[in-house]
């Protein structure tokens, strides 16, 4: 897991940016998301009812040059994970352009593993193939992944015999074995026991140092200010602030407090004690 790959590339082209995203928009078509039955869908089509749509992300532009790390913060459902999915190439944007230079890899929550019937070793090989690694590369990385996951004899047992924590460890070890140019992190540091969390944090920092650019989605404000040189506050799919991490955290916390106060005020106006959750 050595660094050094950071300065290998750069001769063949002169990339001024690592990530360039312009006017990104992701639209969800709720016709399919609601998992309607065929009869209902057919009925809607016949009645020429326009499908319900909503923008999970709109008018988002990001530009990251080499060496930068960007934090994305915001309330739940703001579109943070959607943005990462677009950057990772998992989702194609409904509008706008994404241009990422180099190998993109996401440490998204791989806690589930790849195939519960297969052994740990087989999962590593399968996982490498899913991530697009050459088989020789995966086999070369195999010992270090096994060592990092630290599962003992369980590495040869089917994944279905693993505990949740063990699965998370294996998932992280596989995902973190890739040394990407652009690293995408989505709340990955909340898995495993304390010892493993420390270890994975160290590995993430190592990867981040080697990577050319890092995008991090987190609710942990300490990470934002400690680790990122820029931050972006996302609310309802739109960028409400972009700039210094400390300012972003401040704005985010202020907005969160306002939202909570608003909710409490509404509840009080409705005659409900805000400390009591309304019945569902």
């Amino acid at each position: 897991m050595s660094a050094g790959s950071a300065d290998v590339v750069g001769n063949d082209f002169q990339p001024s940016h690592a990530i360039h995203a312009e006017d990104l928009g992701v639209q969800y078509n709720l016709r399919f998301n609601r998992k309607r039955s065929m009869v209902e869908s057919l009925g809607n089509v016949l009645r020429r009812k326009p499908p319900e749509r909503f923008w999970a992300l709109r008018h988002v532009s990001i530009r990251l040059v080499h060496g930068e790390s960007l934090a994305i913060i915001g309330p739940n459902g703001a579109g943070k994970s959607t943005l990462l999915q677009v950057l990772a190439g998992i989702m194609r944007p409904s509008e706008g352009v994404v241009d990422t230079r180099g190998h993109v890899s996401g440490l998204l929550a791989l806690g589930a593993g790849f195939d519960t019937e297969l052994s740990g070793i087989d999962n590593i090989l399968l996982g490498g193939a899913y991530l697009g690694l050459e088989d020789s590369t995966t086999r070369r990385l195999l010992p270090s992944i096994v060592e990092f996951a630290d599962l003992g004899a369980f590495i040869d047992a089917p994944l279905k015999t693993y505990s949740t924590g063990m699965r998370a460890r294996l998932g992280f070890a596989i995902a973190a074995s890739v040394d990407p140019d652009i690293l995408l992190l989505d709340e990955v540091l909340s898995t495993g026991d304390i010892a493993f969390r420390e270890k994975s944090k160290a590995r993430v920092l190592e990867l981040a140092r080697a990577a050319k650019a890092v995008v991090l989605v987190t609710h942990d404000m300490a990470w934002v200010s400690e680790f990122c040189n820029r931050a972006l506050v996302l609310e309802r799919g739109q960028v409400v602030f972009e700039g210094k991490p400390l300012e972003a955290v401040e704005i985010h916390q202020q907005h969160t407090a306002e939202a909570q106060a608003r909710k409490a005020a509404e509840a009080t106006a409705a005659g409900v004690d805000p400390r009591i959750a309304p019945p569902r």
Binding site: S2, Y28, M38, A88, G89, S94, D99, L118, A129
Partner: protein, 294 residues
């Protein structure tokens, strides 16, 4: 770590690329991810073999038991006047089991991996492809009991069995088209999983599997509407069953094995290639929506 590998420049633009580009992309994805497809097929094999007491023996038992059920059924209703009837229907049951399992597994192949699809970017088309390819292995196992039954019936085991792989290639391409199509469609219409089982059952009984194609000449409806014969001729499994039966069993009146109808096989192969291309284009067109819908 990846310093030796190529560094792709990814450029995602909104909107759908032109149709031919989609097809080219699909071919590129499949050829570059052969290893992943192989692992997925192997995983499928391991699962099938390890979950049950009898393990891989089920590949052999499944078609055999199904054949026995039909033989009993047909004997009871008194229609068993075809010589060597067990072999006659086994020649159809075996390829049908292959096809129906590929289609049934195919509907689940993408949906089953919803967690992965939302977490990593990989070409999803490898999933139905792996399902279709794993089906071949089940068929290959089934050739063992087929050989046994053929040897038990004197005069059936001839060099014409060498045609089986050729016919199987045609069926593979057709099953590939079906798997790619249903795997993508089921993401948007989950009812498909329920529908498919019934469609498959009806399809089997409408295909000349338990009866010879010539039996239809005596059906009154076929006498009244000759167009039905043309429709039956369009059924890929009319062509496939007749071809398998020709090389495994022989003529419907009990004659020895002979060459299959090569022209109709060739036509079906061409049609299947076109269908696979169309299915791949459809798959690639809706693929970007998978992560949103799943």
């Amino acid at each position: 770590m990846l310093s030796t590998s190529a560094r792709p420049v990814v450029r995602e633009v909104s909107g759908t690329p032109p149709t031919l580009e989609l097809l080219r992309e699909a071919v590129r994805e499949v050829t570059s991810r052969r290893r992943l497809i192989r692992y997925l097929v192997q995983a499928e094999m391991k699962k099938r073999g390890s979950d049950t007491v009898l393990g891989n023996l089920w590949w052999i038992l499944d078609p055999l038991l199904q054949m026995i059920v039909y033989v009993i059924f047909v004997t009871i209703i008194g229609r068993g006047n075809i010589p060597d009837y067990p072999l006659f229907i086994f020649a159809a049951i075996l390829p049908w089991k292959w096809y129906s399992s590929v289609v049934a597994d195919g509907t689940q192949s993408v949906v089953r991996q919803s967690a992965l699809i939302r977490q990593i970017a990989f070409p999803k088309i490898v999933l139905p492809l792996a399902t279709a390819t794993a089906g071949v292995v089940g068929f290959a196992w089934g050739l063992i009991p087929l050989a046994v039954i053929m040897l038990l019936n004197p005069g059936r085991f001839t060099l014409y069995v060498l045609w089986i792989p050729v016919i199987a290639v045609v069926q593979y391409v057709f099953s590939l088209a079906s798997a790619i199509f249903v795997s993508a469609a089921n993401v948007f219409f989950r009812d498909l999983g329920n529908v498919v089982g019934h469609v498959l059952r009806l399809w089997f009984f409408l295909s000349p599997g338990l009866y010879a194609l010539s039996t239809l000449d005596n059906v009154s409806m076929f006498k009244r509407y000759p167009i039905l014969h043309d429709l039956v001729g369009l059924n890929p499994f009319s062509v496939l069953f007749e071809a398998y039966r020709a090389v495994i069993y022989g003529t419907a009146d009990g004659g020895p094995p002979l060459s299959p109808n090569l022209l109709s096989l060739f036509e079906l192969l061409l049609a299947s290639i076109v269908l696979t291309a169309l299915a791949a284009i459809f798959f690639k067109r809706v693929e970007p929506e998978f992560a949103k819908v799943l």
